[in-house]
């Protein structure tokens, strides 16, 4: 970091504006010519305190002389303050020369990158990668699933069979009275109701089967509300009584709510099933009824929406319940860099958890049965496949013998052998550190990287086959695999995770706006907005153009009746969410999505500062440092009737603040067209909204911003903004510094991205391909 004594800040304010963020590459050529003179000056006047290479001198100036000021700013600072014992003694030319030397030799980020090149670091699986890898590892070993019934509709509810009889614990196929798809489970079987008519008898039973798509990772609480008898399965083997998540044999009208909480991973389908019996109750009991409700992470308790239900079956997924310590986020994205005791203990607990799960299901996993001839051998073969899956490559003969066969010989029974192999596999560095060299099978490392970049997972069978067959050598081969992999729901989940990171939504637990101040802004609306944003992003990224420009410019939104009603948009047809158009000029893509705008607001007012900081970092792609002085925004301190813009300008007008707020405020003000809940407005506190201001780009050019669309157009036309976005996506996918993959990597990706029409999917493929092959290119053919 640059030396920035607070007492000197007033002097720096002179430099505000054009010079502030000017880039090193645009400096005066004369300064470069004076490099030798600069070096000599440095040795003579600076090295005593700063060290020969700017490394610092203990007891004088201990910190390394590095930072991210522009050369102009550094020059100005040097001219005014250096040398420390005789400030203002350098001539302007000397100050320029010595600063240029310092800047190029070690101070600037580029110099630092040259001196200490960032590299791909050895890291362990992140928590997300661990959970998904374990789930897929087991799923990949399951016997092939029966193909789903061709007649099963794709989505929109659960397959239902109504029976005109009720026999506790059973269904009488001969009494099947009605088959169909119910969009949800929320019925009161009152006399004369259509629901009761489907059953056709006072004593009846219903079986619902299908799958549920989880949109968030985390704890989902399900509530089955019924005064009758019910069994419920979520992410469990449907119909197997012992696996039931809820087994309400004895009805209890006084406590009709039966709850179960399960952890689910986003972007996957889970089996869901209900067996329901309306048996005779005490005279005067309430009519038969059943409702399935849930409370997903970030959500409110409500009926499970039909759009997430499907009559198609799914298989249970092992979701590890062990909690891991948070991943290292110190680089601005999650990485598996911290090898702590807490992490190690979590890996042990999780390994036990998986071993117990596998041990309990030893026969179900591979279709063996107790007493089968050859059962022990098949379980051992299963264990070997598990270990190979965890290693992300075929086992060597030596490993197969020492880590599997010998373990089974020493174990008292095959179950114990399997548990021990599972423990070994999940505690092994080869599983936990997924990018270790694998000279045994070179292609496997490429496959492992691809699976992590695009799925946060282990390679699937197709990738493993490609690796084994030498099909992951050329960039074209790798890109073809990456393209195939984008068709998998796990790629969607990964990109969705990026959007949450990019838009800073991961830690939003509830939206700030106060419902008392904004009637109608209820927790249910907030949850709908989260869905609306997710649908918008998914639609463009996967179903639509894939064009990043549309993400920033689109005038449409996704809304249900509640959202449309609050924001004054055309009501969608139907019960669920649909794409609706807003008034021309009202919205500019994700930048103006109400969820984002509300998340970046105060309970009763907008926050141009929060919004501006987001636009600065996330869209324009400039870095900001933490505020020098902590200033709380206190609405009561301002004269009544001031607009929010006036308040912020007053609060941040000091030179101290302007260093950053000269950038933040114009961007934040551009979103003043939207109130704290993201509603479009023309007035603030009775005054017309004033969203226009001049924004100074990092090259010093002034840009007039009047609204979100101007910000979008600026970012799309501005190479550093695009590169900043690419870098964020790179980091989220690869978990390694982009710059470690070569100095021109971002510019190269930017050019090909623009050429592809800003296609997000192609960008993912390019990033994944580049990272997968980095450093693993085959050696050039030997000269004859």
């Amino acid at each position: 970091m640059a030396p920035t004594p607070p007492r000197l800040l007033p002097a720096l304010s002179l430099l505000l504006g054009a010079a502030l963020w000017s880039a090193g590459c645009q400096r005066d050529p004369a300064a470069a010519l004076a490099a030798d003179a600069g070096a000599a000056l440095y040795r003579a006047k600076c090295a005593d305190c700063h060290g020969a290479k700017g490394e610092g001198v203990e007891g004088k100036y201990g910190s390394p002389l590095t930072g991210d000021w522009s050369l102009a700013r550094l020059t100005r600072y040097t001219a005014l303050n250096m040398p420390d014992d005789a400030p203002e003694t350098l001539s302007p030319a000397e100050a320029q020369a010595v600063s240029a030397y310092i800047f190029d030799a070690f101070y600037s980020p580029a110099a630092q990158a040259r001196l200490n090149p960032p590299r791909r670091e050895l890291q362990h699986l992140t928590n997300t990668q661990y959970a998904i890898s374990v789930a897929d590892l087991l799923a990949g070993l399951a016997p092939p699933a029966a193909p789903p019934e061709a007649s099963a509709p794709a989505a929109g509810g659960l397959a239902a069979v109504y029976f005109g009889s009720a026999q506790r614990g059973r269904f009488d196929a001969a009494k099947a009275a009605h088959r169909g798809v119910d969009p949800g489970v929320d019925f009161e079987f009152n006399p004369g109701s259509p629901a009761l008519a489907r059953a056709g008898a006072a004593e009846f039973s219903v079986q619902w089967r299908g799958s549920l798509l989880a949109e968030e990772t985390g704890d989902h609480e399900f509530t089955v509300r019924t005064p009758n008898t019910v069994r419920f399965w979520i992410n469990a083997e449907p119909g197997v009584p012992a696996d039931a998540s809820l087994d309400v044999n004895v009805s209890n009208p006084t406590r009709p709510d039966h709850r179960v909480t399960v952890r689910l991973l986003a972007g996957r389908r889970y089996p869901i099933a209900i067996d329901y019996w309306a048996l005779p109750e005490k005279p005067g009991a309430p009519p038969p009824a059943i409702a399935l409700r849930w409370k997903p992470p970030h959500g409110t308790e409500r009926p499970v929406p039909a759009r997430l239900l499907s009559p198609a079956p799914a298989r249970p997924t092992l979701v590890v319940a062990t909690r891991f310590p948070p991943d290292d986020g110190s680089h601005g994205y999650e990485r598996g860099l911290s090898v702590s005791a807490a992490w190690d203990e979590a890996t042990t607990r999780a390994a036990f958890e998986v071993a117990a799960h596998v041990g309990r299901r030893v026969d179900r996993l591979d279709g063996t049965r107790a007493g089968d001839a050859g059962r022990a051998g098949r379980i051992e073969a299963f264990a070997a496949r598990f270990l190979a899956g965890a290693f992300r490559r075929p086992l060597t003969a030596e490993e197969r013998e020492a880590q599997v066969a010998a373990v089974f010989r020493a174990a008292p029974d095959p179950e114990t052998g399997l548990r021990r192999v599972v423990l070994f596999a999940l505690k092994s560095p080869r599983f936990l550190y997924p990018d270790l060299p694998s000279p045994e099978a070179p292609g496997s490392r490429v496959a492992a990287r691809l699976a992590l970049s695009l799925w946060d997972s282990v390679p699937d069978a197709a990738l493993a086959a490609a690796a084994a067959g030498g099909g992951l050598v050329t960039p074209e081969q790798v890109a073809a695999q990456a393209t195939r992999m984008l068709g998998d729901p796990r790629a969607r989940a990964k990109l969705r995770g990026f959007f949450e990171h990019w838009l800073q939504l991961r830690f939003v637990e509830s939206l700030p706006p106060d419902p008392a101040h904004f009637p109608g802004f209820t927790p249910e609306l907030a949850e709908d907005l989260r869905t609306s944003l997710r649908l918008f992003l998914d639609d463009i990224a996967w179903d639509g153009s894939g064009d990043f420009r549309e993400l920033l410019r689109a005038g449409h939104v996704f809304a249900n009746a509640r959202v449309a009603g609050y924001y004054g948009w055309p009501a969608p047809s139907g019960d669920g969410f649909a794409r609706v158009a807003t008034s021309p000029g009202e919205r500019s893509g994700v930048l103006t999505h109400p969820y984002l705008l509300a998340a970046l607001s105060h309970p009763r007012s907008t926050s141009p500062i929060l919004r501006g900081v987001f636009l600065t970092r996330g869209i324009v792609g400039r870095s900001l440092r933490s505020p020098q002085v902590a200033v709380a925004f206190n609405d009561a301190e301002f004269a009544p009737g001031m607009s929010m813009r006036e308040k912020v300008e007053k609060l941040t007008r000091t030179e101290n603040c302007q260093g950053c707020h000269a950038v933040i405020n114009p961007l934040g003000f551009s979103l003043e067209w939207y109130d704290a809940t993201g509603r479009f407005r023309r007035e603030d506190e009775g005054r017309p909204v004033d969203a226009a201001s001049d924004y100074f780009a990092d090259d010093g050019q002034a840009v007039r911003l009047g609204g979100a669309r101007d910000v979008a157009e600026f970012a799309l036309a501005h190479a550093p903004s695009l590169e900043a976005f690419i870098e964020q996506l790179f980091h989220h996918l690869v978990k390694q510094p982009a710059i470690a993959h070569g100095p021109g990597v971002l510019a190269g990706l930017r050019d090909s991205w623009i050429a592809s029409g800003h296609d997000l999917r192609q960008l993912m493929v390019r990033i994944a391909t580049l990272a997968a092959l980095h450093g693993l290119e085959p050696p050039p053919p030997a000269a004859p």
Partner: protein
């Protein structure tokens, strides 16, 4: 009554010598003496009523003789208390078996529900309140002095895999039955699964370290530092899982006979396995409250091991005049008494860890039933036999009451454990206070 433990001197004559040296190393291992003497409660259930003429002693007071059914408990006569004349007077929905079972330890009516009982009874549901074992459990868990890892453990023997008011006597609260665990291996897993896991982990640590050493050579010096950190953590894990490390257990887990399936003919073996597990976790102070439920209300075990092939419930309906059936029922109930005896013997033969006397001196066993008599389905004269010094009652007596609501006995149990609640279950039945047993 303060729960001062009466140090009854148990007559240990007739105990098999093999039972004596049960626990190795006691009391050298293990925890400090408890701040106040430990108290434990075990509730044992057997179904379908008893044969009163061969169950209740003829004389009351201290000078009583045990009849055939209770004869197996003779070695423990001095710490035995028989309580005749206790009635389950809870009425409401559900049939006699349902109320006999689900009101037995709760003392309160059944909730509405859709379980259709026998006769013309109104369908009913779960019990409407907490059971006394869970009430005492919660009381003991509320204080750090008496808190244990599990608080309570519910053992079953031959309980069918179904959930209804005939099958549950223990309730955590209204409508919240606590299922007993019939599979001793499942119980073992719950108690000692962690220890077995550690043994598995120990077995893989050496190969893991060897593999790590191999991997370490393949990476750059910078990355090697990460793997060295990882190696340090593996060594730490090795220390933590070493034999004896962190093991606060006084006694290791019992060795269970392998492969005993949860089925009718294995009931005698399952019974002993469950009792062994229960005594073992008492030694390790994993719980102070346990229930042991043999089958269920209307249980139909076929006691082929007694050469009785009829189902227990069907037999219990036979009239008093059917001498053959009566004789079988006497033998069935005597067999249950023998299992209670085995539990009592094991506790009597085990010194109280860190305390005085035997574990039986610190344990109260309550053996009970959902009916007084099978063929009349009466809820009067429920067979209550108390055994052991755990509640500070004056033992070695046969007492007789006149249709006293069993709520007063449940209340006396709570008070015996120092939990001085004014009523338990249906308050109307508690107006005369806890049954005076001290």
């Amino acid at each position: 009554m303060t729960p001062i433990l009466r140090r009854s001197f148990l007559r240990r004559a007739g105990l098999p010598a093999a039972l004596l040296p049960l626990i190795h190393g006691l009391p050298s291992l293990g925890l400090a003496a408890p701040a106040r003497p430990r108290q434990r409660l075990v509730i044992v259930f057997s179904p379908n009523g008893t044969i009163p003429t061969e169950f209740w002693p003829d004389r009351t007071g201290t000078d009583f003789a045990l009849k055939r059914i209770l004869e197996p408990l003779a070695p423990h006569r001095d710490c035995l208390l028989t309580l005749r004349g206790i009635s389950n007077r809870v009425r409401g929905d559900g049939d006699g078996h349902m109320r006999g079972m689900s009101c037995l330890l709760t003392g309160t009516e059944l909730l509405p529900g859709n379980i259709q009982g026998g006769g013309k009874s109104i369908p009913a549901g779960w019990a409407g309140g907490i059971s006394i074992d869970q009430e005492i459990r919660n009381f003991l868990q509320s204080s750090p002095e008496t808190r244990t890892r599990f608080g309570s453990l519910e053992f079953g023997v031959g309980v069918q895999d179904r959930a209804d008011p005939w099958t549950r006597m223990s309730y955590a609260g209204p409508g919240q039955p606590v299922a007993p665990t019939s599979d001793p291996y499942q119980m073992f897993e719950k108690l000692y699964g962690g220890m077995r896991d550690r043994a598995h982990l120990r077995s893989v640590l050496d190969p893991l370290q060897a593999d790590l050493a191999k991997v370490r050579r393949m990476v750059s010096p910078e990355d090697r530092r990460v793997l060295e950190e990882h190696e340090t953590l593996l060594r730490r894990l090795e220390r933590e899982t070493a034999d004896g490390a962190g093991g606060a257990l006084r006694a290791g887990p019992p060795t269970l006979e392998a492969g005993v399936a949860d089925q009718n003919d294995n009931v005698p073996r399952l019974s002993r396995m469950q009792v062994d597990l229960m005594v073992n976790c008492f030694v390790n102070d994993m719980t102070r409250v346990a229930t042991l439920q043999y089958t269920k209300s209307v249980g139909s075990a076929r006691m082929n091991w007694l050469s009785i092939s009829d189902g227990h419930h069907a037999l219990s309906h036979e009239p008093d005049s059917d001498a053959a059936a009566q004789e079988k029922l006497i033998r069935i109930n005597t067999w249950f008494a023998g299992e209670v005896r085995y539990l009592a013997d094991r506790l009597a033969a085990t010194p109280e860890p860190g305390g005085d006397g035997s574990m039986l001196d610190h344990t109260l066993i309550v053996w009970t039933n959902e009916l007084g008599k099978g063929n009349s389905h009466t809820l009067d004269n429920i067979p209550f036999v108390l055994l052991g010094g755990g509640a500070g009652f004056r033992m070695g007596r046969a007492l007789e009451f006149d249709k006293v609501p069993h709520n007063r006995l449940l209340l006396a149990l709570a008070h015996g454990f120092g939990h001085r609640i004014p009523t338990f279950g249906k308050a109307d039945f508690c107006s005369a206070g806890p049954l005076a047993l001290g």
